[in-house]
């Protein structure tokens, strides 16, 4: 029988496969970059500058997605750029999640003065314009991979704290929390054993969303040249360079943009798909 439940799970399945497939492919390419990329991403060859992608006239073998103004292979640079994007996504996303979700959970469940302190902190934090805040942080910390990650964590923990706090408050009002107290469970035990499992789907969705956002932030920072050193390929850096030659070689701009778009979309869809898959009520 085709009831709503089977419909949801089938759609979630497709979503999970497509988004997961792209991310697995990207991760494999990033890990195996030295073996799978057709060229050295940094090798310049002015005789092979602005080669078009493979289906256009004048394309050369070894440059499937064309080359940029300095003759560097676009595909190889995207593959090496994926390394930076994925490292930032996973590390910054996870750290942001751990810090933000913990604070949100404590604020939402315990209430009282912990909530007061954390909520005021979130309010103050959110009054800063995030992009300026990031640029300021990088200016102070200096460029580099760890600076980008720190900037993302410092700016974005409020996203988790706010949402998780609201969800934890909603759960804390449920009778199963009172019944845990009747059973003699400690406050911390109730938070971890009763509330956390119910907030986990929300956290999971936020985590994957945050990974996508981290990819975007890294691209923005490298677009304005505030990411890692310029001799390492990044998607944002490629987009910035491609912008200068958009009329002569559109592919230098478009392909990293497509990779960025697919990656961010996949992260968010992966979260939704996982949530549906692991929710016992929907399963």
């Amino acid at each position: 029988m085709a009831d709503a439940r089977t419909f949801v799970s089938r759609r979630a399945g497709l979503r999970l496969w497509l988004s997961g497939g792209w991310l697995v492919l990207l991760t494999l390419a990033a890990v195996l970059a030295p073996f799978v990329s057709p060229q050295d991403p940094l090798a310049q060859d002015l005789f092979a500058a602005r080669l078009p992608p493979f289906w256009q006239a004048g394309a050369e073998a070894g440059f499937p997605l064309g080359s940029d103004s300095l003759g560097r292979d676009v595909l190889s640079r995207i593959i090496y750029g994926a390394r930076v994007a994925l490292i930032v996504a996973v590390i910054a996303g996870t750290l942001t999640c751990l810090i933000g979700a913990t604070l949100g959970l404590v604020a939402g469940y315990f209430g009282g003065w912990p909530d007061l302190v954390i909520s005021r902190l979130v309010d103050i934090w959110m009054a800063f314009p995030p992009v300026l805040f990031a640029i300021l942080l990088i200016a102070v910390l200096g460029t580099g991979l760890s600076s980008i990650i720190i900037a993302i964590v410092v700016i974005d923990w409020t996203r988790f704290a706010r949402v998780v706090r609201a969800e934890a408050m909603r759960q804390a009002a449920m009778d199963y929390v009172a019944s845990a107290q009747v059973a003699g469970r400690s406050r911390a035990g109730t938070m971890l054993r009763e509330i956390l499992p119910n907030v986990l789907p929300t956290i999971l969705v936020l985590l994957t969303l945050e990974m996508g956002i981290a990819v975007i932030v890294e691209a923005i920072l490298s677009f304005v040249n505030l990411s890692i050193s310029t001799d390492q390929p990044t998607w944002g850096g490629m987009i910035a360079e491609g912008r200068l030659s958009i009329y002569q070689a559109w592919w230098v701009l478009v392909f990293p943009l497509v990779a960025l778009f697919l990656t961010v979309l996949s992260f968010s869809q992966l979260g939704e798909g996982l949530k549906d898959r692991f929710d016992p009520v929907l399963r």
Partner: protein, 267 residues
């Protein structure tokens, strides 16, 4: 050991009234329980009845110390628990258990029935959890295989049975049932009440049964306490209260029971 399970004297409880809170300064307090006193002897099945807003659920939550009274005293088996901190209450909590009104909300949706019943047992250091869970399920008439199900997979009546199983598995001295049949359809209501009657008889439970429905109380409870606006207006044998209700609000509650023949009387 004292044969009084509960000895409650001049119990008062107030909440801050946030709707009338001035811009600065504390909110005025609104008194929900206005000096209640009663005893519950061991083996007693007492009904606590009142219309909505009478404070019956607040009384229940104060008796279980989910709320802290502002005044008066609650003695549980001779021990003063009125202001005990949570850490001191925790080891005692096994002895007074509660069945909640809404079994959907009171069962953690992410845990299986088996885990829900075993959780409190583990906290209080019981051994042989698997067998105890099985026995509790058996007591409430649920098949053993139910332990692997999630709450949303059960019917309302089955969920409420799980709530009862969780409470009796701890072998408590006292159980509070807070409006446990008001969310169920009539036939599940009858089944849950039958079950409770059987359990009271077989396990010798001491039970306080909170309800707004006097017909349910009449069937289950030997004694009844009628609450109105935070005060006890009437108390006594259920039969006697039904025969000759003294307070006006008791009469109202009795008249609110739908009868098959409207002209019939309870006498």
């Amino acid at each position: 050991m004292s044969d009084m399970i509960y000895r409650i004297r001049d119990l008062r409880l107030d909440f801050p009234d946030m709707t009338r809170k001035p811009l600065f300064g504390p909110a005025p307090r609104i008194e929900v329980l206005k000096g209640l006193g009663f005893d519950i002897p061991r083996g007693d099945v007492v009904g606590i009845v009142g219309s909505s807003g009478s404070g019956k659920s607040t009384l229940g939550r104060a008796m279980l110390r989910l709320l802290e009274p502002s005044h008066g005293s609650i003695l549980f088996e001779g021990r003063d628990i009125t202001h005990l901190p949570e850490s001191a209450l925790r080891p005692l909590r096994r002895k007074f258990q509660m069945i909640f009104q809404d079994p959907m909300s009171s069962l953690n949706p992410r845990l299986t029935v088996g885990t829900i019943i075993a959780g409190p047992l583990r906290l209080h250091g019981f051994d042989d959890l698997g067998r105890r869970v099985g026995r509790a399920l058996d007591h409430v008439g649920l098949p053993e295989a139910m332990r692997h199900r999630y709450p949303h997979e059960l019917s309302g009546g089955q969920r409420q049975r799980v709530g009862i199983a969780r409470a009796i598995a701890l072998e408590p001295d006292f159980i509070l049932a807070d409006e446990i049949v008001s969310g169920l359809d009539v036939s599940s209501q009858a089944q849950v009440l039958n079950l409770l009657e059987t359990l009271v008889r077989e396990l010798g439970l001491t039970l306080a049964f909170i309800s707004h429905d006097l017909s349910v109380i009449r069937r289950l409870c030997k004694r009844v306490i009628v609450l109105h606006r935070g005060e006890i207006v009437e108390t006594g044998d259920t039969a006697a209260v039904f025969r000759a209700p003294k307070a006006a609000c008791t009469r109202e509650l009795i008249e609110a029971i739908p009868l098959p023949d409207p002209n019939q009387t309870w006498a």
